[in-house]
């Protein structure tokens, strides 16, 4: 118990003094996860909206697959990206393995299904309300798609936040494709795993506290967004 309170005191000291190692790790974590979520948003929102608005053979299967991919274990995504980027893999020549870029790719793959599946649901619900009016004005699914995304913007923000929550919290994928190399690919979650196994709890605890605050902020923002949306703007 004494060891724990000592670790907690050190952790708070690290946070209070903006410890250089700590700041470096947090900055890389945010860079990787925010980049991944930005990419996943660019891919996932139009993809989800297109799936919501278009009817094609095999659509049911695609939707089931998309929902299933939402729950994909990060280690599996990590393994797949590892195989693709390793020297012998199809993209091996690019030399991306064990780099932040590889981590961004892995997290993007992890987050796209979440954003796309949630966006699909949201836009499909909205389309049942809008379809007749849109078609009456001469807009088919293709023309209506941008307006559908815009009109669902507040609810879609919560989908993006859910994606960020997933990216910033996962450890399996970034561990495998990043390798947890000090000063290069060490992020918050991989550091916590490593330092805890080493018995060095102070840094792990400090990072854990930051992750908790981050998670609270993301969910607070999502909650505020839903309340705003309920007011009638969205």
């Amino acid at each position: 118990m004494n060891a724990f309170s000592e670790a907690l005191a050190t952790a708070i000291a690290l946070l209070a003094t903006f410890d250089a190692a700590l700041v470096e790790i947090v900055a890389l974590s945010l860079r990787v996860s925010l980049s991944a979520v930005a990419l996943a948003t660019l891919i996932g929102l139009p993809l989800g909206a297109a799936l919501a608005l278009h009817r094609f053979p095999g659509r049911g299967g695609v939707l089931v697959a998309l929902d299933a991919l939402m729950g994909l274990p990060p280690v599996v995504v990590g393994l797949v990206v590892y195989l693709l980027l390793s020297r012998a893999g199809p993209f091996g020549v690019m030399g991306l393995l064990f780099s932040p870029a590889a981590m961004i790719i892995a997290q993007t793959l992890l987050v796209v299904p979440i954003i796309a599946a949630l966006a699909r649901q949201v836009v499909e619900d909205l389309w049942t309300e809008y379809e007749e009016q849109m078609r009456s004005m001469g807009a088919g699914p293709r023309q209506a798609l941008p307006a559908m995304l815009w009109d669902a913007r507040f609810t879609l923000t919560t989908a993006v936040l859910a994606g960020f929550g997933r990216a910033s919290a996962e450890v399996g994928a970034v561990m495998i494709v990043g390798g947890n190399i000090d000063h290069v690919t060490r992020v918050m979650t991989t550091t916590i795993a490593l330092e805890t196994s080493k018995g060095d709890l102070a840094l792990a605890l400090a990072l854990g506290l930051i992750l908790i605050v981050l998670s609270l902020s993301v969910n607070g923002a999502a909650h505020a967004m839903r309340r705003h949306a309920a007011k009638g703007f969205a």
Binding site: Y130, S136, G138, A147, D151, R153
Partner: protein, 256 residues
């Protein structure tokens, strides 16, 4: 918004040339069935340019379906719907519909009108002039920047009409546009429809409100259980309905 060098105070530019009419609309032996149930059954009807047609009938008669089939939102399962006018090559551009419950985009009132014009690929300056014009004519200028979803029910339906008006439709379909509105808002909506007719728009509307039908109909099409029982000038319909069902409906005694 960027500063513009000139401000348009002249209102919308006059149309370059009146496009050829898409009317008449000819409906031949049209049916619409879902799971074998005939909801519209062998309806034949011709809508010429000019007078206002009110489709009357009790709940469940198929009034809304008939309107959607004419507007092209639904495809008939039997028979044909054809526009026969000289401009019939491009019918979608020249008709509009206002629904019972207005569907408004989640943006400002004027942006709703602007969006409909943008779909028609109208240039920005023209869009602004047309939007200002219809907002003023429908009495919505003061709430133009208000989010459409925060408007009152009456204002929302007026905005739906403004959006339709901006498109300068040759034919406007209205599906019970006042059934959710109070008498004042109903009167305002009827006045706007009347103004649109003055602008040359052919009005086709459904209602189950006999008072409204008397006020607004030149012709009445009476629908009962998916069948068109009569199409007659309004006066003779209200004085001497031909079918027993219509007479019962006017007495408020129709059972279905």
């Amino acid at each position: 918004m960027t500063a513009t060098a000139t401000i348009d105070i002249t209102g919308p530019a006059p149309p370059a040339a009146t496009p050829p009419s898409i009317l008449p609309l000819v409906v031949e032996d049209m049916s619409f069935a879902i799971d074998g149930r005939r909801l519209i059954d062998g309806v034949s009807l011709t809508l010429e340019a000019g007078p206002r047609t009110v489709i009357l009938g009790p709940n469940g008669a198929g009034k809304s379906l008939l309107l959607r089939l004419c507007h092209g939102l639904l495809t008939p399962t039997g028979g044909r719907v054809t526009w026969h006018g000289a401009g019939a090559a491009d019918t979608r551009q020249h008709q509009a519909m206002v629904f019972q419950k207005p569907v408004l985009l989640r943006r400002s009132a004027r942006a709703n009108v602007d969006y409909a014009l943008k779909l028609k690929k109208i240039a920005r300056d023209r869009r602004r002039a047309i939007t200002d014009d219809v907002m003023a004519r429908t009495g919505l200028a003061a709430v133009a920047e208000t989010p459409a979803r925060l408007l009152s029910g009456g204002e929302q339906q007026k905005l739906a009409l403004a959006r339709a008006w901006a498109l300068k439709p040759q034919v406007l379909f209205l599906d019970e546009p006042t059934s959710h509105l109070d008498p004042a808002a109903t009167a305002a909506v009827e006045a706007i429809v009347e103004d649109m007719r003055g602008d040359g728009t052919r009005i086709v509307m459904t209602t189950h409100d006999l008072g409204q039908a008397r006020r607004m109909a030149d012709h009445v099409a009476f629908l009962h259980k998916g069948r068109l029982l009569e199409t007659t000038p309004a006066e003779s319909f209200f004085e001497r309905p031909k079918s027993g069902e219509a007479a019962a409906f006017l007495r408020g005694e129709l059972r279905w």
